[in-house]
């Protein structure tokens, strides 16, 4: 496997990992909203909270993580800019 292929396969790995987290927090957990609503924290039923804030926080954090992780992959393979 040459460097280009290795770089792309690691990039793809990261892409799938990101999409799985996205699927879980965009859809998966909201499917169980009724069960999650049984748990109430500080007045927020958990199912409602996840759709109103929890998933959003996960999305923001995962994008910062993604940016730094992909950058590390690029540098590691000598594919980064500069």
């Amino acid at each position: 496997m040459n460097e280009t292929e290795r770089h792309w396969s690691r990039t793809k790995g990261l892409m799938w990992a990101m999409l799985i987290i996205w699927l879980i927090f965009g859809y998966g957990i909201h499917y169980f909203v009724k069960q999650l609503n049984e748990i109430v924290i500080a007045g927020f039923p958990l199912g409602f909270y996840m759709a109103a804030q929890g998933s959003l926080i996960v999305f923001v954090l995962m994008l910062f993580f993604f940016a730094s992780r992909q950058d590390a992959i690029d540098r590691d393979s000598g594919m980064a800019e500069d």
């Binding site: 910062f64 980064a80 800019e81």
Partner: protein
């Protein structure tokens, strides 16, 4: 030329200082207006000062960032740092409707409204992971640029332009409409005039400096809009719960709402059928439509050209990725606050409006009743007498009017979605200056989105259609003149459309997401991630996906009876609903004269719209069909036709690695 680029280099290296001073200056300005208000300056003047001074600042930025360089006009010279591009994208993304209407949607739909919150944020994950960094490396000026280079020429480009215009034009019309509404509501200017005031504001920001000017005004507009959105609800939260973090304190409000809902039903103030508990999921959308809507909004976000082109402006691929993360952070600040607005407003209505006698309603009910935004017992809440008559009629009271006492019931009260945000300062008893601030924020949100959309449309016409398809040898000067002329023409067309207050256009905005998703997403994603995708596959996939989506949208909305009859075997209509359809159809057939026929047709059409579906999918989620069709057609056709040339496959390798030059470099 050299001094010009040095000057803008200085500008970019001093961004922190410049926008720091700007933000401080803005706070000072608000404080100054508050002092003026205390000194007795009338509200109307305060409102004017707010709107015109913020407009003047945007115009100033628009003028000092004017440019005659193609690269600066189309992609801001690719010098916008991630953080600031994130702010600009936030303003570009959050429309007048997000600012004013989002909280109202959550008020009305409760949990189900969160589909919009999730859909309009989660899409950025797709932007960052699948699309934006690769388009940045490619080095396009517009999204159709990429389609053309990747998928064999101008036919793919042309289809891209068609999809782009279809999804952006209705959207920009709605933004100009929103600026007109905000200006007329807060300043008391006539709506028709207000539209053109908004239009001038939009054009000054974008015309002279293109993307460069729009970028730096959008950053300024983001600061205004986020400050304006947060301040009222932070003050309200501090007043009620002693903690200035509304995003945490509204949990208590949610509990109070639930308790009050039970109480209202128990005391007969609400009937269990019409009251939809705020926290209970799937009362307005069934799970299929809830998750379908989230998917369409997310994928649509990742396909809308006015958003994607913002990431063409960053200095590097690395910055483009970081910039998506910052964008989502800045958008998140508004979207995770909107549910707090909704909860506080609902609690206010449930506690201080429902169950009150007509004589003791709070003043804000009449303030907004007078401009037609609050209805009680079916009429605008203009005066106590007007609603007393209406309520007496409603409950069948015939005795002496003076002794009529009516406790307002849940079903008697109707509130326009926009009121939730704009009434909060008043409900919390804040001075008028805060209302002026909210107006300036709403205006900033509408103007910034309108600028981004207009630029996307005008650039597609000037760069893709004129320069790339009509005159490949056009000199730089002429290209930039044409770009500006087209910008003005598109803006005028949108303003003329907005002036007619087209109800249909406004509801069509939601269609933009499905159309963009079905028309562009498969080609953009597979273009990067699947080397085997070729031009025949992409072109047919785009046409098929977009076509199916458009057919479903138009068919279910404008030709509902026909659509229902063609596809009745796929409809989710219950036996009762199907029987009712036949009944209405018979009534239409046997209607005696023209008037009766028109009325019967309207009834038939209205009923048909509720059952003209495939498997019960609402038309706002039409991409649920267009998207898989687009992917499938692109995949199958690509496999049946020859693979792309080695040269093209090398180009794909090139856009997949950040190192090296852009693929498309402007030859000057």
């Amino acid at each position: 030329m050299a001094t010009e680029s040095k000057a803008s280099g200085d500008f970019v290296s001093n961004l922190g200082k410049i926008y720091g001073y700007y933000t401080g200056g803005f706070f000072l300005f608000v404080v100054l207006l508050a002092i003026l208000e205390q000194m007795g300056v009338p509200n109307k003047i305060i409102g004017y000062l707010f709107v015109f001074l913020t407009l003047a600042v945007y115009a100033f930025i628009g003028i000092i960032t004017r440019t005659m360089q193609v690269g600066e006009y189309y992609v801001a010279g690719r010098r916008v740092p991630a953080f600031y591009n994130g702010m600009a994208t936030g303003a570009d993304w959050m429309s007048g409707a997000s600012f004013v209407g989002m909280a109202g949607t959550l008020y009305a739909l409760g949990y189900d409204g969160l589909a919009f919150v999730l859909g309009w944020t989660g899409g950025y994950v797709l932007v960052a992971v699948l699309i934006a960094p690769y388009l940045r490396k490619f080095g396009a000026y517009t999204v159709p640029d990429f389609l053309s280079e990747r998928f064999g020429g101008n036919f793919a480009r042309f289809i891209g332009v068609v999809v782009l215009i279809c999804c952006s034009f209705t959207y920009v019309t709605a933004q100009i409409y929103a600026t007109g509404i905000i200006a007329s509501r807060f300043l008391g200017i006539d709506f028709q005039v207000a539209v053109f005031v908004g239009l001038i504001g939009i054009l000054i920001c974008s015309m002279l400096g293109g993307m460069k000017a729009v970028t730096w005004t959008q950053v300024a507009q983001y600061i205004v809009l986020i400050v304006a959105y947060l301040i009222p609800v932070v003050v309200l939260s501090t007043q009620k719960y002693g903690l200035p973090i509304p995003q945490l304190t509204y949990g208590q409000a949610l509990q109070d709402i639930t308790a009050r809902e039970g109480q209202m039903i128990a005391t007969g103030l609400a009937d269990a059928k019409s009251l939809k508990p705020h926290l209970t999921p799937f009362l307005n959308y069934d799970p299929l439509n809830y998750f379908g809507l989230i998917l369409c909004l997310m994928v649509g976000t990742a396909s809308l050209p006015h958003i994607l082109m913002r990431y063409f402006t960053t200095p590097s691929v690395r910055e483009a990725r970081k910039s998506v993360a910052w964008s989502l952070f800045f958008i998140f600040l508004l979207y995770f606050t909107a549910p707090a607005y909704a909860a506080f407003a609902k609690l206010e209505v449930y506690n201080n409006v429902i169950g009150q006698t007509l004589a003791s309603l709070p003043q804000w009910v009449y303030t907004y009743g007078n401009i037609g935004l609050v209805k009680i017992c079916g009429v605008d809440a203009t005066t106590v007498d007007a609603i007393r008559d209406a309520c007496a009629k409603l409950v069948g009271y015939t005795g002496d009017m003076a002794s009529f006492v009516h406790q307002l019931r849940h079903q008697d009260f109707a509130i326009n979605n926009d009121v939730v945000v704009i009434s909060t300062p008043e409900i919390a008893g804040m001075p008028y200056v805060i209302s002026g601030l909210v107006a300036a924020g709403g205006l900033a949100a509408a103007l910034s989105t309108a600028d981004g959309l207009l630029l996307a449309i005008a650039n597609a016409l000037s760069h893709d259609i004129y320069y790339k398809m009509i005159d490949r040898n056009a000199p730089t000067g002429r290209r930039l003149v044409i770009a500006r002329v087209l910008l003005i023409l598109v803006a005028l067309a949108a303003a003329m459309t907005a002036r007619t207050k087209p109800a249909d256009i406004l509801s069509m905005v939601a269609w933009a997401f499905s159309l963009a998703a079905a028309g562009l997403f498969p080609a953009l994603v597979l273009g990067v991630w699947w080397k085997r995708a070729n031009s025949a596959g992409a072109v047919l996939g785009m046409i098929a996906g977009f076509g199916v989506c458009l057919y479903y949208l138009v068919g279910t909305r404008y030709f509902a009876p026909h659509f229902y009859e063609t596809w009745s075997f796929l409809s989710h209509a219950s036996a009762d609903a199907a029987a009712k359809y036949q009944e209405l159809k018979a009534a239409y057939a046997s209607a005696a004269d023209e008037a009766a026929k028109t009325a019967a047709w309207a009834a038939l059409d209205k009923h048909a719209q509720s059952i003209a579906t495939w498997w019960g999918v609402k038309n706002i989620s039409a991409a649920l069909f267009g998207l898989p069709v687009g992917f499938a057609v692109m995949w199958i056709v690509s496999l049946l036709t020859p693979a792309p040339s080695q040269e093209l496959q090398d180009m794909i390798d090139n856009i997949r690695r950040p190192r090296g030059d852009m693929v498309l470099a402007e030859k000057t």
